[in-house]
C-alpha cells in the first residue's frame, strides 16, 4: 500500500497548494448543505418545538364541544373510549375588560390539568380572586402584575334555557399575579366572540373555584401513548382520527342523553313553574275574588243603607205630611174659627158701631143734655145770680124764681135725661165691653190656637229639618261609601287587569319556556382536534410553507455547487494532465489516479458539508424562527441536529461534487499517457457567429471583439457566470419583491380599499333610539365628515372541508358605503356594489376555500347556525377576509331586522393626536363599545409586516454568498486557465487596469446578461415565494417596485465588484516570467 500512501501524500500536498480551489469547493459544499440542511431542518425543528411545548403543557389531542354544554356523564362515557387517557371537563367564557377607549374581549379560561399555561413571570393564582394573563395583555390594558383587573361578563346568551343564570365568575375583580403563555392561543388570531368588537383580544386564566357553571363548556381529551407521536405527523393525525371516530360513535347517544336530561330538567322546571304559576294564579284569583266580594257586600250595604234612607225619608215624609195635614186641619179650623171670629167680630163691630152710634147718639144726646144742662145751669146760675141780685124784682125774682124753678125742673129733667143717657151709654158700653171681651176671648182663643199651631208647626219644621239632615248625612255617608266603593272597584279593576297581564305574562313566559324546551335542539357535539385550533393550524401551515421553500432554495445552491465543482475539478485535472500522464505511464491504474482527485473532492465536500450542516442547523431555524416569533407566542425554538437531513444533504452534495470530479477526471484519464504527457492544445480560437453579422462586428472596437470571442470560447464559464449572477439577482429581486409585496399591503388595504379613519362599534344592547342618537351625535361632530352605518358579523365561511373566519359587512346603504370602502371587482377592476342575488367575497378567501363566482358557500355563526349564500363577485382585498352583503339580502337570509352595529367614520384629516382625542370623546358616550383607529391598526400591522423583512435579509445574504462564491471561483478558474494569455498581454505592456478590463469586460458582460435574466427569473421566483409563504390572513400584492429592480441590480453589481477587486489583485500578482516559461 505504499502506492496509496504516496498518493495520499500527494493529495494532501495538492490541498496545500491549491487551497483556493479546495476552499471554493468546500465553500460550495458548506453553502449547499448548510442551506439545504438548515432550511429543511427548520420545519421539523418548529414542529418539534410545538410538539415539545404541547407535551410539556399537556395540550389536548381532542376537544369536544357541545352546543348545550357537557356533563360528568359525558366525561365518563368518553373515558371508556379506547386509547383515551384522560378526559378533562373545563370551562371558558368570554368577558370584557373596559379601557378608556376600548373594550377588550378576553377569553376567560379555567386553570386545569390540561392545556397548562406556561408561566412567564409572577406565579400562578392561589386564591379565587387572582388571575394570570397574557404578557401582551398587560401592555394592552396598561397594567402590571399586582394590579387588579375588572372583568365584565357578557350577557350570557348561550345558555338561555337557564333562567337564573349565575354569573360565570364569582369574583370579577381579579388580581393579576402573573403572566403566562397559553398553548392553545399561540397566534395573534384568537377567534371570534359574541362580545365587543367580535374578536377575542386576549385570554385570562382564573382558578376553577372562581367559576360557576351548570355544565362544562368543553371537554379536553388526551390520548394514551401520545408521547410516541409527534404532533402534526401523519401517524399522529391518523391516531387522533381513529379515536375521533370512536367518539363519533357515541356522539349521538350522548347528544341524545344530554338532550333528554336538559329536556327533563327543563320540563320539570316548567312543571314546577307551572304549578307555582297555577297556585299563584289561584291565589291571585281568590284574592281578587275576595276583593270583589268585599266590594259586592259593601255595594249591598250601600244599597241597603240607601233603601233605609229612602224608607226613612218616606216614612218621615208621610209622618210629616200627616202632621202637616193635622196642622193644616188645625189651621183650617183655626182659620174657620178666625173667619167666624172675624165675621163675629165684624158683626160685633157693626153692633159695636151701632152701639157706638147709639152711644154716640146717646153721647150726643148726653152732650146736648150736658150742653143743655150747662146752658140751663148757666141760665140757672145766671138766674141765681140775678136772684142774688138785690135789685131783683120779685117778678123778676119770681119770674126768676119761676124761671129758676122751671130751670130747676129742666135741670132735673136734664139730669135725669143725663142719667138715663149715661145709663144708656153705660149699658151700651157694658154691652160693648162684654162683646169686646167676648171677642177678645175669642181672639185669645184663636190666638192661642194660632200659637199652638205655630208651635206645632215649628216643632214639625224642626223635626223635619233634623230628619232631613239626618237623611242628608245618611245620604252623604252613602255617597261616600259609594265613592269608596268606586275607588275600590277601580282598584279591583286595576289589580284585575294587573293580575291578568301578570298572568298573561307568566303564561307567555311559560309558553315561551315550553317553546324553548321544544326549541332545545338536539345538542350537537363538535369533535375537534388540534388542527381546529387557529394558532396551531396556522403554525403547522407555516411549517409547511417553509418546507416548500426548503425544496427550491437548496436546488439553486446544489446546481451552482455542481457547476462550480465541475469547473474547478476540470481545471485541476487539466492542470495536472501531465502528472496524470506520468502516473499512467508509470503504471498506475485509472482507479488509483482517480482516487487522488476523489479524495481531494471528498475531503472538501465532507468538511464543507459538516461545517455547513452544523451552521445551518443552528442558524437558519433560529433566523426563520425569529421572524415567526413575532406572530406566535411560544417558547424558543429547539434546534437539533437532524441526521436525516444532514445525511441527505451530505449525500446530495457528495454525489454532485464527487460526481462532477469523477466525470472531469474520467474524461482526461481515459486518454493514453502519451496524449496526456503532451501539453493540451489550448482551446482553439474560433470565429463566432456575430462575426458573420459584419455590420455589427465592424462597429465593435478591438477589445470588444476580443471580449465577444472569449465569451463564446469558454462556454462553461459563460454559463456558470450567468447562472450564478442569475441566481443572485433573482434571489435579491425576489427578496425585495417580497418586501414590496408586503409593504404595499397596508397602503392598498387602508388607502385604496378602506378609506375610513375609524371604525366605531356600537353596543349590542342599544335601543333604536339610543343607536340613532349615537349616530346623530357623531354626524354632528364637526371634526367628522362622514359616518356610514353598517352591520358587521364575525362568522366562518365554509366550502366543503375548508373554512375561514370572515367578517361579514352589511352596509346600511350601498351608496353610503362607497364613501368609506371601495369594493373593487378583481377581474374587471371596477367598483361594484352589494346586490340582491348574493354576496361579494374577497379574493384570498375565495382562494382559500376554493370557490369562484357563481358557487355557493356556507356561512356559520359561532352557534353553528349555517346559511348558504351565492357568490356574485370576488373583490380585491389584502388583509383578512370579508364578505359584503346587501341589507336586503341579509334580511331575507336571516329573517331578522337589520340593526347597525358598526359605524365607519371619516374625519377631517385629523392628526393622530386629534384622532386619539376624538376617539376618547366618542367612547365616553355610552352607546359605543369600541373604536379602532385606522392609524393604530396600521401601526400594529406595520410591526407584523416588519417581521417579514427577515425573509428579505435571508434572501439577500444567501444571494450574496452565492454570487460571491460563484464569481470568486469562476474568476480564479478564469485566471488560472488563461494565465499565459494574461502574462502575454502584461508583457506586451498592458497596464494593470487594462489587463483587468481585458478580463473583466467579459465578466461584466456576463454579469449584465445574468442580471437581466435574473430580473426575469426573480420576477417569477418572487411569485413562487409569495405563493408558498403567503399568510392565510394576507394577500400579498403582486407588484415589484421599479426601485427593487434597481436594488437587485446594484447589489448584484456590488457583489460582482467585490469579486472583481479580488480579481484585480490576483491579476496584478500574476508572475509573467514563470507563467510564460512553463509549457502547457
Amino acid at each position: 500500500m505504499k502506492v496509496k500512501k504516496a498518493l495520499l501524500k500527494d493529495s494532501v500536498k495538492e490541498i496545500k497548494v491549491g487551497y483556493k480551489r479546495f476552499i471554493s469547493i468546500l465553500l460550495m459544499a458548506l453553502l449547499g448543505v448548510g442551506f439545504f440542511a438548515g432550511l429543511r431542518a427548520t420545519s421539523p425543528d418548529m414542529v418539534n418545538t410545538i410538539d415539545t411545548y404541547f407535551k410539556e403543557q399537556n395540550v389536548y389531542d381532542i376537544e369536544v364541544l357541545s352546543t348545550l354544554g357537557l356533563t360528568d356523564e359525558d366525561i365518563t362515557a368518553l373515558e371508556n373510549i379506547e386509547n383515551v387517557e384522560n378526559v378533562y371537563g373545563t370551562y371558558s367564557n368570554d368577558g370584557l375588560v373596559k379601557l378608556e377607549n376600548k373594550e377588550n374581549v378576553v377569553k376567560i379560561l379555567a386553570i386545569d390539568d390540561v392545556n397548562n399555561p406556561r408561566l412567564i413571570s409572577g406565579n400562578m393564582p392561589q386564591n379565587s380572586n387572582e388571575c394570570v394573563v397574557e404578557e401582551e395583555f398587560l401592555n394592552l390594558i396598561e397594567k402590571q402584575i399586582g394590579d387588579t383587573v375588572s372583568i365584565e361578563l357578557g350577557e350570557d346568551e348561550t345558555s338561555s334555557e337557564d333562567e337564573e343564570t349565575k354569573p360565570f365568575l364569582k369574583e370579577t375583580n381579579l388580581k393579576i399575579v402573573g403572566t403566562v403563555q397559553s398553548p392553545i392561543y399561540i397566534s395573534r388570531e384568537k377567534g371570534t366572540s359574541q362580545l365587543g368588537a367580535g374578536k377575542i383580544d386576549s385570554y385570562i386564566y382564573v382558578p376553577k373555584d372562581n367559576i360557576q357553571s351548570e355544565a362544562y363548556t368543553e371537554i379536553y381529551i388526551t390520548l394514551e401513548n401520545r408521547e410516541k407521536y409527534e404532533t402534526g405527523s401523519n401517524r399522529y393525525n391518523k391516531y387522533v382520527e381513529e379515536v375521533k371516530q370512536n367518539i363519533e360513535n357515541i356522539k349521538e347517544e350522548r347528544e341524545q342523553a344530554r338532550y333528554q336530561s336538559l329536556i327533563d330538567e327543563a320540563n320539570q322546571k316548567i312543571s314546577e313553574a307551572e304549578e307555582e304559576f297555577n297556585t299563584q294564579k289561584q291565589e291571585g284569583e281568590s284574592k281578587l275574588q275576595e276583593a270583589r266580594n268585599t266590594i259586592e257586600s259593601s255595594k249591598a250595604q250601600i244599597t241597603q243603607a240607601e233603601n233605609e234612607v229612602i224608607q226613612n225619608e218616606k216614612s218621615m215624609n208621610s209622618q210629616f205630611s200627616e202632621a202637616e195635614k193635622q196642622l193644616k186641619n188645625a189651621k183650617e179650623v183655626l182659620n174657620k174659627n178666625e173667619a167666624e171670629y172675624t165675621a163675629q167680630k165684624a158683626e160685633l163691630e157693626t153692633t159695636f158701631t151701632q152701639a157706638e152710634e147709639q152711644k154716640q147718639s146717646l153721647q150726643n144726646t148726653l152732650n146736648e143734655i150736658v150742653v143743655n144742662l150747662q146752658t140751663v145751669e148757666e141760665k140757672y146760675n145766671l138766674v141765681l145770680e140775678q136772684l142774688k141780685k138785690p135789685d131783683l124784682s120779685e117778678t123778676e125774682k119770681s119770674i126768676l124764681e119761676k124761671a129758676k124753678a122751671e130751670l130747676e125742673t129742666n135741670k132735673q129733667q136734664l139730669e135725669t135725661g143725663k142719667a138715663q143717657t149715661e145709663a144708656g151709654i153705660q149699658t151700651i158700653e157694658n154691652q160693648v165691653t162684654e162683646g169686646r171681651n167676648q171677642l177678645a176671648s175669642a181672639e185669645a182663643q184663636i190666638e192661642s190656637g194660632k200659637k199652638q199651631i205655630q208651635s206645632q208647626e215649628k216643632t214639625l219644621n224642626s223635626k223635619k229639618a233634623s230628619a232631613k239632615s239626618q237623611i242628608e248625612s245618611a245620604k252623604a255617608k252613602i255617597e261616600e261609601s259609594k265613592k269608596e266603593l268606586e275607588a275600590g272597584e277601580a282598584e279591583l279593576a286595576q289589580s284585575e287587569a294587573e293580575f291578568q297581564s301578570k298572568i298573561q305574562e307568566a303564561e307567555g313566559k311559560l309558553i315561551d319556556a315550553k317553546e324553548e324546551v321544544n326549541k332545545i335542539e338536539n345538542p350537537t357535539w363538535y369533535i375537534l382536534d388540534r388542527s381546529d385550533n387557529a394558532g396551531y393550524s396556522s403554525f403547522i401551515q407555516d411549517t409547511e410553507s417553509i418546507e416548500n421553500l426548503s425544496i427550491v432554495f437548496p436546488i439553486v445552491f446544489f446546481a451552482i455547487a455542481v457547476l462550480v465543482s465541475l469547473t474547478s475539478m476540470t481545471r485541476m485535472v487539466e492542470e495536472e494532465r501531465q502528472e496524470i500522464g506520468t502516473l499512467k505511464a508509470l503504471g498506475y491504474n485509472t482507479f488509483h489516479i482517480v482516487f487522488k482527485y476523489i479524495l481531494y473532492a471528498s475531503l472538501a465536500c465532507i468538511i464543507g458539508a459538516i461545517i455547513g450542516m452544523n451552521i445551518g442547523f443552528q442558524l437558519l431555524p433560529r433566523i426563520i424562527w425569529s421572524m415567526y416569533e413575532m406572530m406566535y407566542t411560544m417558547p424558543s425554538i429547539i434546534v437539533s441536529f437532524n441526521y436525516e437531513n444532514a445525511m441527505l444533504g451530505l449525500s446530495i452534495i457528495y454525489i454532485c461534487i464527487v460526481g462532477a470530479t469523477i466525470y472531469a477526471i474520467l474524461r482526461e484519464a481515459k486518454s493514453v499517457p502519451a496524449t496526456l504527457l503532451r501539453p493540451k492544445s489550448p482551446k482553439l480560437g474560433k470565429r463566432v457567429l456575430l462575426e458573420r453579422v459584419t455590420f455589427i462586428w465592424k462597429r465593435l472596437n478591438f477589445s470588444h471583439k476580443v471580449t465577444v470571442r472569449n465569451i463564446f470560447r469558454y462556454k462553461k464559464r459563460f454559463l456558470m457566470t450567468i447562472i450564478g449572477i442569475f441566481g443572485c439577482t433573482s434571489l435579491i429581486l425576489a427578496g425585495f419583491g417580497l418586501k414590496d409585496s408586503i409593504s404595499k399591503i397596508l397602503p392598498y388595504q387602508y388607502e385604496n380599499i378602506f378609506q375610513y379613519d375609524m371604525q366605531v362599534a356600537l353596543k349590542t344592547t342599544l335601543t333604536d333610539e339610543q343607536r340613532q342618537n349615537a349616530i346623530t351625535n357623531l354626524k354632528e361632530n364637526e371634526k367628522i365628515t362622514d359616518v356610514v352605518e353598517s352591520k358587521i358579523l364575525s362568522e366562518t365561511a365554509q366550502n366543503g372541508e375548508n373554512e375561514e373566519d370572515v367578517q361579514i359587512v352589511i352596509p346600511e346603504s350601498k351608496e353610503e358605503i362607497k364613501k368609506v370602502i371601495n369594493i373593487i371587482d378583481l377581474e374587471t377592476e371596477e367598483k361594484i356594489e352589494c346586490n340582491q342575488e348574493g354576496v361579494i367575497i374577497t379574493d384570498k378567501l375565495s382562494e382559500l376555500i376554493d370557490v369562484k363566482v357563481g358557487d355557493t358557500i356556507k356561512i356559520k355563526d359561532s352557534d353553528g347556525n349555517e346559511k348558504e349564500v351565492k357568490i356574485t363577485n370576488i373583490a380585491e382585498n389584502y388583509i383578512s377576509h370579508y364578505i359584503y352583503m346587501s341589507k336586503e339580502y341579509y334580511e331575507n337570509l336571516y329573517q331578522e331586522q337589520y340593526n347597525t352595529n358598526v359605524l365607519f367614520v371619516k374625519d377631517n384629516n385629523l392628526t393622530e393626536d386629534e384622532e386619539e382625542e376624538i376617539s376618547k370623546e366618542i367612547i365616553a358616550k355610552n352607546e359605543v363599545s369600541t373604536i379602532s383607529l385606522t392609524s393604530n391598526v396600521l401601526k400594529t400591522l406595520d410591526d407584523t409586516m416588519n417581521s417579514l423583512n427577515y425573509v428579505v435579509v435571508i434572501l439577500i445574504v444567501s444571494a450574496g454568498l452565492l454570487a460571491f462564491v460563484v464569481l470568486y471561483n469562476l474568476s480564479n478558474v478564469n485566471i488560472s486557465e488563461r494565465i499565459r494569455e494574461l502574462a502575454t498581454i502584461k508583457v506586451l505592456g498592458f497596464y494593470d487596469r487594462e489587463v483587468y478590463s481585458y478580463i473583466t469586460r467579459e465578466t461584466i458582460l456576463l454579469t449584465i446578461i445574468g442580471i437581466i435574466l435574473g430580473l426575469i427569473g426573480g420576477y417569477f421566483l418572487n411569485f413562487y415565494i409569495i405563493g408558498t409563504c403567503e399568510i392565510d390572513m394576507l394577500r400579498f400584492v403582486k407588484v415589484i417596485d421599479p426601485l427593487s429592480y434597481l436594488y437587485a441590480i446594484l447589489i448584484t453589481a456590488v457583489f460582482s465588484i467585490i469579486v472583481n477587486i479580488f480579481t484585480y489583485f490576483a491579476l496584478k500578482k500574476i508572475d509573467m516570467i514563470s507563467s510564460l516559461k512553463s509549457v502547457e
Partner: protein, 233 residues
C-alpha cells in the same frame, strides 16, 4: 554612453532559505541598432538579464540604462509603460492569444502603443499577408513565430528581445525566423537581442555576449556579421 548599459547588475531569488544569485554583477553595453546574440548554458542568467532588460523583472542591485533611461529604477506603471512603448518580446513558444487571428494578435499590441506601425504592413513585412485572418492554431510554428515577431515589431520598440525564438522550430524555419530578425535589425535599425543556447548562430550578430554563472563572461564584437543564409548548424 551606450544605448544600453548593464552596470553591476545583481539579481537574487530567494527560494525558501536559499538565495540563488541569477545575475552576479553583470556588465555589458549594447549600441543602438546592434543585433546582439546572448549565448550560454542553461542557468547562466541570460533569460534573467533579458527579463530585466525587458522590464519584466527587477534588479536586486546595480543599474540598467536604456536610451538614457534608468530602467532599474522604474516602478509599477512606469515599468509597464517602458514595456509598452520601448520593448518588443518574442518568446520560444510564441505566446499568441489563441482566440485572436494573426492580425488581431498584432493589433493587440498596436492598440496600446502610440507610434505603432500599421499591422497589415508589418504582416506584409513578415510575409504573412495571406494569413492575417487565420487563428494561431491554423498556422505552423514558424508562421506563429512570425506573427509573434510581427506583434513585437509592430509596436515600433526601441528594443526587440527574443528568448530562444527558434527553440521550438525546425532548422529551416528557424533560419527563416533568424533572417527575419536580422533583416528587421538592419532595415529598421532596431536593436535586437537574441538569446540562444545555440552558439552556432552567433556569427550573424554584431555583438556576442557569452554568459556563464550569472556573468557576461565574454563580449565579442563581430565586425563582419554573416547573413543568416550563410550560417549553417
Amino acid at each position: 554612453m551606450s544605448y544600453i548599459e548593464f552596470k553591476d547588475v545583481c539579481k537574487e531569488y530567494k527560494m525558501g532559505e536559499i538565495t540563488i544569485k541569477a545575475l552576479d554583477k553583470t556588465n555589458f553595453r549594447i549600441e543602438k541598432g546592434e543585433l546582439v546574440v546572448i549565448v550560454g548554458p542553461s542557468g547562466a542568467g541570460k533569460t534573467t538579464a533579458l527579463n530585466i532588460l525587458g522590464g519584466m523583472d527587477t534588479v536586486t542591485s546595480g543599474e540598467v540604462l536604456v536610451d538614457g533611461k534608468k530602467v532599474s529604477e522604474l516602478k509599477n506603471k512606469k515599468l509597464i509603460q517602458y514595456r509598452r512603448e520601448d520593448i518588443g518580446f518574442v518568446f520560444q513558444f510564441y505566446n499568441l492569444v489563441q482566440n485572436l487571428t494573426a492580425i488581431e494578435n498584432v493589433e493587440l499590441a498596436t492598440q496600446i502603443c502610440k507610434d505603432s506601425l500599421e499591422p497589415l504592413e508589418v504582416m506584409k513585412k513578415v510575409g504573412l499577408e495571406d494569413r492575417i485572418n487565420n487563428f494561431p492554431s491554423q498556422l505552423s510554428g514558424g508562421e506563429q513565430q512570425r506573427v509573434a515577431i510581427a506583434r513585437a515589431i509592430a509596436k515600433n520598440p526601441k528594443l526587440l528581445l527574443c528568448d530562444e525564438p527558434t527553440g521550438a522550430l525546425d532548422y529551416k524555419t528557424g533560419k527563416q525566423i533568424l533572417k527575419l530578425l536580422q533583416d528587421t535589425a538592419r532595415k529598421e535599425n532596431m536593436t535586437v537581442l537574441i538569446i540562444t543556447h545555440n552558439g552556432a548562430i552567433a556569427p550573424m550578430a554584431d555583438k556576442i555576449i557569452q554568459f556563464k554563472n550569472g556573468k557576461a563572461e565574454k563580449i565579442t564584437k563581430n565586425e563582419n556579421p554573416k547573413p543568416v543564409e550563410e550560417i549553417e548548424w
